[in-house]
């Protein structure tokens, strides 16, 4: 009896979930569908897929977006590498040693989490001007790399769970800080460092406001920024919705690939990051 009641309940659950899923995925469907249309297909059948597929939309979008991709790889690669290197070293020091000023340092690091970068947007912009790096890739790399607090917080938590005996033994053998860090801490921590790397790449790839403020040179635009200018141009100058949507798809692909290949770390990294920031 109860079994039948249950099946009835699940039937309803599926109906509700599918009704929620359709509008959730609708924008993604529309984006993919339009990205393969030429202008006449678009005006005739704007939503449903049409054949033949116009792959040349992607060719046209890529010709513009390739440059932005390269910029993103340089900026995000450098900033992620710097923040993880600097942050994991700091986490090593904070997690494994007790020294005068440790609490203070920790406070200075964590208090930054209460300063969202948006509220210091205006003075940060002036800082970039004063440093003379406005309109260079450094204007993105350095402030991005400075987003260290979360990395340090998560890594310190993890590093302090490593057993002290291993460190003692290595010290007996005369190991210094760099040896302990590179030979002991890093090899044991790749999964968590990977999750933090994914989190950094994710939010940097998503950021639009800061690049749109400090980068005006078209050649130095990031993907997010370039996508908006490219789409605006296609709306205002010469309507090619297919190409605009193709560019949107191209801008999404790297994160989608990252997600598909590392779903677990992806979810772990973003949950940790978003919840604590």
């Amino acid at each position: 009896m109860s079994r039948k009641l249950r099946w009835h309940n699940y039937y309803l659950s599926y109906v509700i979930l599918i009704l929620l899923l359709i509008p959730t995925l609708f924008p993604i469907f529309v984006m993919l569908s339009i990205s393969f249309k030429d202008f006449f297909q678009y005006t005739g059948t704007p939503l449903a897929p049409t054949w033949p597929l116009h792959w040349e939309n992607y060719k046209a979008a890529w010709d513009v977006m390739a440059r932005y991709y390269l910029n993103n790889i340089i900026i995000i690669g450098a900033a992620t590498a710097i923040s993880l290197a600097v942050g994991s070293l700091a986490a090593y020091a904070l997690a494994r040693y007790r020294f005068p000023g440790r609490q203070f340092v920790f406070f200075v690091i964590l208090a930054v989490l209460a300063i969202p970068s948006v509220v210091i947007l205006v003075p940060s912009f002036m800082l970039i001007v004063q440093l003379g790096i406005l309109n260079t890739l450094w204007a993105l790399i350095l402030p991005y790399a400075a987003h260290l607090s979360l990395v340090i917080f998560v890594l310190t938590t993890f590093f302090s769970t490593l057993p002290e005996e291993m460190f003692e033994a290595a010290r007996m053998d005369g190991a210094g800080h760099m040896t302990l860090y590179a030979r002991l801490v890093l090899p044991l921590s790749w999964p968590i460092i990977g999750a933090m790397a994914i989190f950094q790449v994710w939010w940097m790839w998503n950021d639009y406001v800061w690049p749109s403020l400090v980068i005006s040179d078209p050649v130095k635009r990031t993907v997010a920024q370039g996508l908006v200018t490219f789409t605006d141009a296609l709306i205002n100058v010469q309507p090619e919705p297919g190409q605009a949507m193709a560019a949107s798809v191209l801008a999404s692909i790297p994160l989608v690939i990252l997600f598909l290949f590392s779903m677990r770390s992806f979810i772990a990294g973003i949950t940790a990051g978003a919840v604590k920031s």
Partner: protein
């Protein structure tokens, strides 16, 4: 979690009496060097701008000069009628999304959690999480297309015979704010769903079984057992939603630039425009300071609530 961090872990601690020994000084001294780059980054890119912004919020500040202005920027901020509109817009957006975060993703997560068939459950979970990986700018641009005159919303309205309702949703000052609110409908996908689901999965199965044995139906079980046990997640997501909307303005920036008029303006966007348009940086800093105070209050409330909820568990 925070508590275990601020007190040094037992394994890492050195005995106190060896504190001043030479070997220890030799080991500890380089640590300051290791921490130096971190401190430099944080001081230069967070603390300096934060302090500079606060001080300059009392000045007229442009590229070349700084003049003391006292409270003039704040006075302008709080007396400007249009600025008031931007704050009420922000309040409407935030309240709407708080209501949404309390319902839609929670409903979806609870339903997915109880699906007994493993494969469909897995795929539903993946499909609800997946939109999270689409970059925010892409989402905004696709939704901007949805609201265009020849865009998705009007196409759907025409298809069901409601063409009289069709309009340029973002160009109409009566609809623009609601259009921006509805971006992301039905508000299930992504982090919120994920956090709720993780919370539900953390509930001990015995508790749920006990509820069933006691004759609770699924609605009662949800409100009497599950919801109280994920109270922490609910509070967390409410605070995260408030903080998110206080500090985000990409949506109006890309979709409408605050227009038409000031109909979709929010304070963050006005602050952005003090750099890109009128170069009135002192005024921009004042807006930033106000936003900072609002976010700080929200954060403190969140910390308080999450501490309470972890104590009561």
């Amino acid at each position: 979690m925070q508590a275990s961090i601020s007190s040094p872990s037992k394994t890492a601690a050195q005995p106190r009496k060896r504190r001043l020994s030479r070997a220890r000084i030799r080991r500890v001294a380089p640590l300051y060097l290791i921490l130096l780059p971190t401190m430099l980054f944080l001081v230069i890119f967070f603390y300096y701008p934060a302090i500079s912004g606060f001080i300059h919020s009392f000045t007229y500040w442009d590229a070349k000069s700084t003049t003391w202005a006292g409270l003039a920027n704040y006075e302008k901020l709080f007396t400007d009628k249009r600025m008031l509109t931007s704050f009420t817009n922000l309040a409407q957006l935030t309240i709407f999304h708080v209501v949404m975060v309390l319902t839609m993703p929670l409903l979806a997560a609870a339903l997915v959690f109880h699906i007994p068939h493993q494969r469909p459950r897995y795929w539903l979970r993946v499909l609800f999480i997946f939109p999270m990986v689409v970059p925010m700018v892409v989402v905004i641009l696709v939704w901007r297309w949805m609201y265009a005159m020849d865009g998705g919303v009007n196409i759907l309205l025409n298809a069901v015979g409601l063409e009289t309702l069709a309009r340029a949703w973002l160009g109409d000052r009566n609809t623009v704010l609601y259009a921006i609110m509805f971006v992301g409908f039905p508000f299930v996908a992504g982090l919120n769903f994920l956090v709720y689901l993780a919370g539900l999965q953390g509930i001990a199965t015995e508790l749920l079984d006990a509820a069933v044995v006691d004759g609770a139906n699924s609605i009662q079980r949800f409100f009497r057992v599950e919801l109280p046990l994920i109270r922490g997640q609910v509070r967390l997501l409410v605070m995260l939603t408030i903080i998110f909307w206080l500090r985000s303005f990409e949506l109006p920036l890309i979709m409408t630039d605050g227009g038409p008029g000031w109909a979709s303006m929010v304070p963050g966007l006005r602050m952005y425009q003090t750099v890109t348009r009128d170069f009135n940086l002192g005024y921009g800093s004042a807006i930033g300071t106000v936003l900072f105070v609002l976010i700080l209050v929200a954060t403190l409330v969140q910390m308080r609530l999450t501490r309470d909820s972890s104590e009561s568990l």
